[in-house]
Amino acid sequence: MKATARWSQGMAVVMLAVALMWPCASVNQARAAAEEYLIGAVFSVTGGASFLGEPEKKTAEMIVEQVNKSGGINGHPVKLVLYDTETDATKCNLAVKKLAKHDNVPIIVGPSTSGESLAVVKVAEEEKVPLISCAASYKIVSPVEERHWVYKVAGSDSHVVGKEFDYMKAKGIKKLAVMTVSDGFGASGREELLRLAPEYGIQIVADETYGPKDTDLTAQLTKIREQKPEAIINWSVGPTQVLAVKAWRDLGMRNIPLYQSHGFGSRKNIELAGGGAEGVLLALARVNIGPLLPDNQPQKAVIMDYTKRYADLYKEPISSFGGHAWDAVTLAIEALKAVGPDRAKIRDYLENKTGFVGQHGVFKFSAKDHNGLGKDDLEMVVVKNGDWALAPWK
């Protein structure tokens, strides 16, 4: 009995020792190649937000490989130092500190989610390392005086709301019904909808909410119908946005146009609605609708190029999220090309960068705006014959 116990305890010690020794070997390898330009990256490759982190990681790796194949940045090979945050704020915080202090990277791209980004804003400021977040929350870059080193490449909710309100205004819609899901995404959308409506002369006649796990939205839509709105806007992600479409169709409310958030921007949603989504309107980033764009649209070329390369390499379509990583990593590479691996110079370069043609828009950064996007970087689309089509403004 005891012999087995001792043997097994011995095994445990050996296993632990191996696990502890392993990192030492890799540290030495990393030191050997000092000529490289480093780009730090933190993405939620696993965990709750892996649907963001996975395409981001693949995109970042693809671009870096591409740059190295074509001779690197001014002759310097690029190395991506990537850590998986497991969608955990604590782990992300430590990973960014490690990138800043231990790996000594001149620039960091990521994190993938707003929560993780907000948990590392202070680190980037204290370590004085430029960081380009791929998440959406406007708090990541505001107040901009306290976000000297932090940038983000994902648009804000206010852009989407602004674009959709522009469209409603063009269509003469004055009475709007709002329905939102009670989670972070819905709450943030609701806030912006209610805040911006008066600016566009739009009156909110109904303000309904529902839970993210609700299975039927008939009640909410019935109440909305009683208020006789001229349009309905639904703000949610996941199954509820499809449920809203189904209830809207089943109640025969097609005469009141249904708008959705950018969260609806996946073809899967059109399929799930089973033909019911015809006529649904939403604002989308151009990366989602590359083939629909006119050839003279400045973003068309980069989007089509990304779409093709990604599909060739990974045999799967691009996603809006991978597009954020494309924008962040390409910005980092352009900065390294222009000013070299110097943190302060890269930061200044980013702040003055305008006219950068990316997947999610034509970025115009400034000392007041560390996001560089606006509502004009979006397109209004409508579901037509089971696919996206550019929505007619006339």
């Binding site: 850590y83 955990d88 707003s114 804003v121 202070k122």
Partner: protein
């Protein structure tokens, strides 16, 4: 406190004091100090959990909830009411203790799986409150721009300062817990763990002691939460979900439930394993992490501290002592 404990404590204090100079000398591990700050914060939580699980024999899957109550108390009081962080900290501890008392009185009447389920349910409820009370907690998008701590007017900046503050607190808490264990209460707790009915028959007010330890563990968790809040300067509910309760429990179990030293050792080790040492495995990190836990559960069920009971000489020798081994 027995002499051995005192000696270990002294050695630990010296090692901890020298640690920053040690890691700075070796460039490759200079960022270990950052990991140690989080390890220290988790240690504060796990000392309480170790008392509760290892000594009072009660299972709690709500530790992350108390950690969160402390964190959000500090966050909300400092951000929304502009309190001094040092005043908010004890408030968080009192609040967590109060909640633990309210939950503990009925819940600790339950035993085994039922107690685990009750605390699990409570943890989930607290997590939902963090998510839904948007006006106070900021909801899923979180609470931002939480002020840092300052000592005597100077803001606490940099890892070294935080390291000494957090680990100083760990040492104080450790001394307190060790003294508690070797008092009348500590002996009573161990009696409850061994055999609750026998303890009761001896005249130990088991229910009262169990609740008291639960309250103490909640207050310690809240203290850890407050440090976390001011260190990271941002809170969102994701850091206080059930997964974190399980992580805290794993840290204590890996170190060894029956020993406070085990809790400290397990916490430090698992923080490094989870955040640092397995990064080289990249995509397979989670798999390796799982295998380590599985290996521990199979080969070292009593945790790392149980290794000290094997004298190295006897371990290397042939196992002729197998006859004496059956009794344990």
């Amino acid at each position: 406190m027995p002499v051995t404990d005192r000696r270990i404590l002294l050695v630990l204090a010296l090692v901890l004091a020298a640690f920053p100079w040690g890691v700075r000398a070796v460039g490759a591990v200079s960022h270990y100090l950052d990991v140690m700050v989080f390890a220290g914060i988790f240690c504060i939580v796990n000392l309480g959990l170790s008392l509760l699980m290892g000594f009072a024999g009660q299972i709690s899957l709500a530790q992350a909830a108390f950690f969160g109550i402390g964190a959000y108390s500090s966050g909300i009081l400092t951000v929304q009411f502009a309190w001094n962080p040092w005043a908010a900290m004890p408030m968080g501890m009192v609040l967590a203790g109060l909640v633990a008392w309210l939950v503990g009185v009925p819940a600790l009447r339950l035993k085994g799986h039922y107690l685990a389920m009750a605390t699990l349910g409570f943890g989930v409820i607290v997590h939902i409150v963090f998510n839904e009370e948007v006006r106070w907690t900021g909801g899923p998008s979180g609470l931002v721009d939480i002020p840092g701590l300052s000592v005597a007017g100077t803001p606490l900046r940099g890892e070294i300062a935080w390291y000494y503050l957090v680990w100083g607190t760990v040492l104080v808490a450790l001394v307190f817990c060790l003294n508690l264990l070797h008092s009348r209460v500590g002996r009573a707790l161990r009696a409850i763990h061994q055999e609750e009915k026998a303890a009761e028959a001896m005249g130990i007010p088991t229910a009262r002691y169990k609740v008291q330890v639960f309250v103490l563990s909640a207050a310690l968790a809240a203290l850890g939460g407050s440090f976390y809040t001011h260190y990271v300067a941002f809170l969102n509910p994701g850091s206080f979900d059930l997964m974190w309760s399980i992580r805290f429990m794993l840290m204590v179990m890996v170190g060894g439930m029956q020993s406070l030293w085990g809790a400290v050792l397990g916490t430090v080790l698992m923080t490094f394993v989870g955040n640092e040492w397995l990064q080289v495995f990249a995509d397979y990190e989670v798999l390796v992490y799982g295998s380590i836990l599985l290996g521990m559960a199979l080969f070292l069920p009593d945790g790392l501290v149980s290794l000290k009971s094997i004298p190295v000489r006897g371990w290397l020798r042939t196992p002729r002592s197998s006859t004496e081994g059956t009794q344990r």
